[in-house]
């Protein structure tokens, strides 16, 4: 069976040292990698918009008829208003926040579950590996959207923002666990693992020190991509009408705009605000993840010209 890790001095030292290294690496990537820099700044702007500025909303933007409906963008209504009298600008800020929360929850849950299971399967091997991989493969193979839709429909009454994140996580963890396992397996062959074994570290010691640090860059990239995937999935579910229709998320905004034939009636601001925002979020996150993978892969770094 799996031993429970003892968080002793060694582990804390490793984690602490790791954090320091992390902030150094961050500064370094930011400075040297154009992809990362652009993406990060863009994302930061969006983040500020969603979380910071959104908090300044005068009223709950989800409420209907807080403003005159169907107004185009103007000085008074920066992004116009919806048919239901909602202020698009403030609605957008809250939507950004909620979509990002969903993305964050999914990334935290799915990519870490995948990471841990993958490392376990790879490091332990044997029966545990087989069991985990069989489960993982069945998830990978089922087309995720129909099942997600099914679940979303069935959970309609109890759905909220965090639960949405968890729901999407169900289909996001298998892939990283497969990838991590493959990486760990390739590592097992290498010399420095043998050194660890001979130095007397137990499974968990090995796992934390050697495997984790190696897998970390990939993990960060994957986490970033998961955020992207989650926001996209929520939007997909929303467009189909199975998201939380009373809440404010980017997907739900799009749903209502489509539902009210916004484009057809000329209310383009209602539809395009969330669409453009989603695109910007996606591009920024993608640039960030690309930056990280370029930075950590020496060959790619050379290709990128640094």
């Amino acid at each position: 069976m799996v031993a429970i890790p003892r968080l002793g001095g060694e582990t804390i030292k490793t984690v602490g040292g790791g954090l320091l290294k992390f902030s150094n690496s961050f500064a370094s990537i930011f400075r040297y990698n154009r992809s990362f820099r652009t993406g990060f700044i863009l994302f930061l702007i969006i983040l500020v918009l969603g979380v910071g500025i959104g908090a300044l909303a005068p009223t709950d933007p989800r409420r209907w008829y807080t403003d005159t409906p169907n107004r185009p963008p103007s000085l008074e209504y920066p992004l116009g208003t919806t048919t239901n009298g909602q202020n698009v600008f403030w609605l957008l800020t809250w939507s950004i926040r909620n979509s990002l929360i969903i993305g964050l929850i999914t990334a935290l849950v799915a990519s870490h579950v995948g990471l841990i299971l993958g490392m376990l399967a790879g490091a332990r091997g044997g029966l545990m590996d087989r069991i985990l991989m069989t489960i993982t493969d069945s998830f990978v193979v089922i087309p995720s959207l129909p099942t997600l839709i099914l679940l979303a429909v069935l959970l309609r009454d109890v759905m909220n923002i965090p639960l949405m994140g968890l729901l999407i996580s169900i289909f996001s963890w298998p892939w990283p666990s497969r990838q991590v396992r493959a990486m760990v397996l390739s590592l097992r062959e290498r010399d420095f693992i043998a050194t660890s074994i001979f130095s007397g570290y137990g499974v968990w010691g090995r796992v934390l020190r050697d495997y984790f640090l190696f897998v970390l860059p990939w993990h960060l990239v994957n986490a970033t991509n998961t955020v992207l995937f989650a926001i996209s999935s929520e939007a997909a579910l929303a467009v189909l009408g199975v998201s939380i229709l009373s809440e404010a998320t980017l997907g739900v905004m799009i749903y209502w705009a489509l539902n009210y034939s916004a484009l057809f009636r000329g209310l383009w601001w209602w539809l395009m605000s969330p669409v453009v925002t989603i695109i910007l979020i996606f591009v920024s996150l993608f640039l960030i993840s690309r930056g990280i993978s370029e930075y950590s892969n020496p060959r790619l770094r050379w290709q990128a010209g640094r």
Partner: protein, 338 residues
């Protein structure tokens, strides 16, 4: 040539994988609703009540029984499970609720060709164009067009189909109205003539482009670009250059040919995602395929239809993947001849 026994083992193996996938998929689709505290029959009855009408309680009871039967929820779980399989294999998926009593299978049958047509066309075009452009750009990576395309790809790659669909809709159906805002056809089918085809094409154009553009200039471009950049440093390509072979020949026979093969495998893996994306694109454009059918069934609480489409999706995507898997050895000589 590979010995027949080996070939058979391969085919059988793939079939087994296919069946396993379908079984697991169907079981999951079967199990989930039954594990959750959701009772579609009660929900349906509640829906009827919420519309405001009053019915005689005994009539409601009859309805209830009928619904249980309709939804395949009669009997214990084992019986239900086998009932689902029987339905699937005989393509009798029960009647649709929103279009009662039209069978689900019939409605799916009408929508299915639209989706398959759109998908097949879009996938073939995007995969071919994307891989060719990507390979060339990867080989000639210091030319200007290559850098520009890569920049474009970086923006297009993360964007899901339906988002691009909205952008395209906004630009080419609203701002500059070249294409219609939605639908599949606005003519009555009297005869197959040029008008009909043109009309079809105009309506399919934007949905198809929504799938083709992120594919060709995004996903397939980037992956083949990466492969090409790697391959061009490999021995056999270097040697071809050393022999003084023309650039075009190298691109065609050495790079593109050797990249299309792993990309075929990649296509098999990506089919699920492409399919899902296509469904959503259809919803956005109100294109009369499976996507829109699904959307309607969700709004109208058509449980049978939702089930039917889910089951069909699993079956369809798995079958397509199987097809590609079996096709692969025919293309790749290193696998075919041992």
């Amino acid at each position: 040539m590979v010995p027949l026994s080996r070939l058979l083992v391969f085919i059988v193996g793939r079939f087994v994988a296919f069946i396993l996938t379908v079984v697991i998929g169907v079981t999951v689709v079967f199990a989930i609703p039954r594990l959750l505290p959701y009772n579609p029959v009660e929900a349906q009855i509640g829906f009827i009540y919420s519309v405001g009408q009053f019915y005689d309680p005994s009539a409601i009871e009859m309805l209830r029984q009928a619904l249980y039967e309709l939804y395949g929820l009669k009997g214990n779980p084992i019986e239900q499970y086998f009932a689902v399989w029987r339905r699937l294999l005989t393509f009798d998926l029960g009647p649709s609720i929103m279009n009662f009593p039209t069978p689900v299978a019939k409605l799916i049958g009408i929508a299915f060709p639209w989706t398959v047509g759109l998908l097949t066309l879009s996938i073939i075009i995007s995969w071919t164009i994307g891989n060719v452009i990507g390979t060339v750009a990867g080989y000639l990576s210091n030319r200007r067009f290559s850098k520009m395309l890569t920049g474009v790809a970086v923006v297009l790659y993360p964007v899901p189909y339906f988002i691009l669909a909205l952008v395209l809709m906004f630009t080419f159906a609203f701002l500059i109205p070249i294409f219609p805002l939605g639908g599949g056809l606005t003519l009555i089918v009297e005869q197959i003539n040029l008008d009909l085809i043109l009309n079809l094409a105009k309506h399919a154009a934007l949905p198809a482009l929504s799938i083709i553009i992120p594919g060709a200039l995004g996903w397939w471009f980037l992956s083949s670009f990466t492969l090409s950049s790697q391959k061009k440093t490999e021995d056999f390509v270097r040697y071809a250059e050393l022999k003084g072979l023309k650039e075009r020949l190298i691109l065609r026979r050495y790079l593109i040919r050797n990249i299309l093969m792993p990309q075929t495998t990649a296509l098999g893996l990506a089919l699920g995602g492409i399919f899902s994306g296509a469904l959503l694109t259809e919803v956005v454009y109100a294109y009369p395929g499976l996507g829109r059918l699904l959307y309607q069934s969700i709004i109208n609480n058509d449980y049978n239809m939702i089930m039917g489409i889910s089951l069909l999706s699993i079956l369809g995507v798995s079958a397509a993947t199987l097809f590609l898997d079996l096709l692969y050895p025919l293309i790749d000589p290193t696998v075919r001849y041992r």
